[in-house]
């Protein structure tokens, strides 16, 4: 059993490493652009006007209510074919990009992440203590300033644990890229299995790499959480010590 593992890792570690790089690339781009897109969606979603709410609601509902793999197939095969049917597009210089599954994967992951993160942000914005928002208004802050100085910092504090979970969810979602022939971590493992017929060794190696990424991500995000909540920790320090009654 271990000979097989050494054989797989010795011969195919290059594939796994390239797969790891592609997985991380997909993850980082999807999370960054997805989160950026989520901000306006979340703000519109918390609007009191029904017609402003409707579009982000529909978007979030559609993307959260259907499987990611169906969205990916829809994008790559469905939209891909519609694009391919445009007259003359196959001769144009853009065709090289338009048939590359990479861009379809990225777009799907970005939209999907945006939908999930927007829903989390909506919860965060709604849970900002109303007294703080009212105080900001009483100080004469414009809505933009209120968002920038009061609501967003508070929101990040509130949503950070849920956001961490969602980033890990996105990491796992990138494995679906392997179904449209992308060679990320899962795709590399599948290719190794096809070559060697050693499913345990290849899939477990990939699984361990995923676990390491999750571990590192969790660790890093915990650090950021501490930074985001630094005010609370400072406040807690200032509370008088119950046992001694002395202010620390």
């Amino acid at each position: 059993m271990f000979e097989d593992l050494i054989y797989v890792l010795g011969k195919y570690h290059g594939w796994l490493f390239d797969g790891l790089l592609l997985t991380l690339q997909l993850l980082v781009i999807a999370v960054i652009f997805g989160s950026l897109l989520a901000v306006p969606l979340a703000i519109a979603r918390t609007s009191k006007k029904l017609w402003v709410q409707a579009v982000p609601f529909g978007f979030i509902y559609l993307f959260r209510g259907t499987p990611l793999i169906a969205q990916l197939f829809m994008m790559y095969y469905g939209v891909g074919q519609l694009i391919a049917n445009i007259d003359g597009i196959q001769d144009s210089w853009t065709w090289e990009y338009l048939r590359d599954p990479y861009w379809y994967c990225l777009l799907t992951f970005i939209l999907n992440t945006a939908a999930y993160v927007a829903e989390i942000m909506r919860g965060g914005i709604n849970n900002v203590p109303s007294g703080e928002v009212e105080a900001a208004r009483a100080c004469g802050m414009t809505p933009t300033t209120t968002y920038r100085r009061i609501i967003f910092p508070r929101m990040w504090q509130i949503i950070w644990p849920a956001y961490t979970n969602d980033v890990i969810f996105t990491l796992k979602a990138t494995s679906l890229a392997s179904t449209v022939t992308m060679m990320e971590l899962t795709g590399a493992a599948r290719k190794i299995v096809a070559r060697t017929a050693l499913p345990y060794e290849a899939f477990i190696s990939a699984g361990v790499i995923y676990l390491i990424i999750v571990y590192v991500l969790t660790f890093g995000f915990k650090g950021v959480e501490k930074y985001l909540r630094r005010n609370e920790f400072r406040q807690a320090d200032k509370k008088p010590n119950v046992e001694t009654g002395v202010q620390a």
Partner: protein, 230 residues
């Protein structure tokens, strides 16, 4: 348009398989979840370690990888066991459907064990102590005190999990189970109309998740009847 190039029935068939998959996985998911939660809250350290590592490992690995591992690896494992028993070379095929059910139950069970753990912790300590004081055995405590309340505390989490389960069944299409997405892929390939077929597949999934959401909201309301509203 509506009969989908004569494949409308095929899609409905796929829908039926998806529903069957969800309902088959559900009981296994609940049983594994309850066992996992009990292990995590156990007095014995070994059980706690097993329970915790199960969730940590499963939650860090993509569902697709688990499905592939069980589909490709499971066949080999069963084959080896069969060869050991019979002593002769045997050829065993686990149907893709069952390896898919096993993989989904394993994955969802890990998430369910977190839900149940939180629900068990939400039961007031005093009630358990009162039960012990009246001389109930641990089994009696579980089914008279814990289980009825567990249901109520766990429902919101289970609601969420069932949504995820419905969506995760689509992943089994990768190993060839004839559910909605697989039927859509076949239709898209033969009729050269991927947009239409995947659109129909997405709408079907959307309908399923919506129905599940409504049903669970009803159940939640029913489970918390008689509880004072805050």
């Amino acid at each position: 348009m509506f009969d989908l190039y004569g494949r409308g029935w095929q899609m409905l068939d796929g829908g039926l398989v998806t529903i069957q998959l969800c309902l088959t996985v559900l009981p296994f998911m609940i049983i594994i979840g309850l066992l996992g939660a009990s292990a995590k809250l156990s007095r014995f350290k070994a059980l706690r370690v097993i329970g915790e590592s199960y969730t940590v490992i499963i939650r860090g690995i993509p569902e697709l990888l688990v499905i592939l591992l069980i589909y490709f690896g499971g066949t080999i494992a069963v084959q080896n066991i069969a060869e050991m028993i019979s002593g002769a070379e045997t050829r065993v095929d686990i149907p893709a459907l069952w390896s898919g059910v096993a993989a989904l139950a394993l994955v969802q069970g890990a998430f369910a064990s977190e839900v149940f753990r939180a629900a068990m912790l939400a039961i007031p300590k005093g009630q358990i102590e009162a039960a012990i004081a009246t001389g109930m055995t641990p089994v009696q405590i579980f089914h008279r005190i814990k289980l009825p309340q567990l249901w109520r505390f766990a429902l919101p989490g289970l609601n969420n999990l069932f949504q995820v389960l419905i969506k995760d069944t689509a992943l089994i299409s990768v190993v060839g189970v004839e559910e909605i997405l697989r039927k859509a892929a076949v239709g898209a390939g033969t009729e050269k109309a991927p947009f239409t077929f995947y659109l129909v597949a997405m709408l079907m999934f959307l309908a399923f998740t919506t129905v599940s959401l409504i049903a669970f909201n009803r159940l939640e309301k029913r489970a918390s009847r008689g509880i004072a509203r805050a």
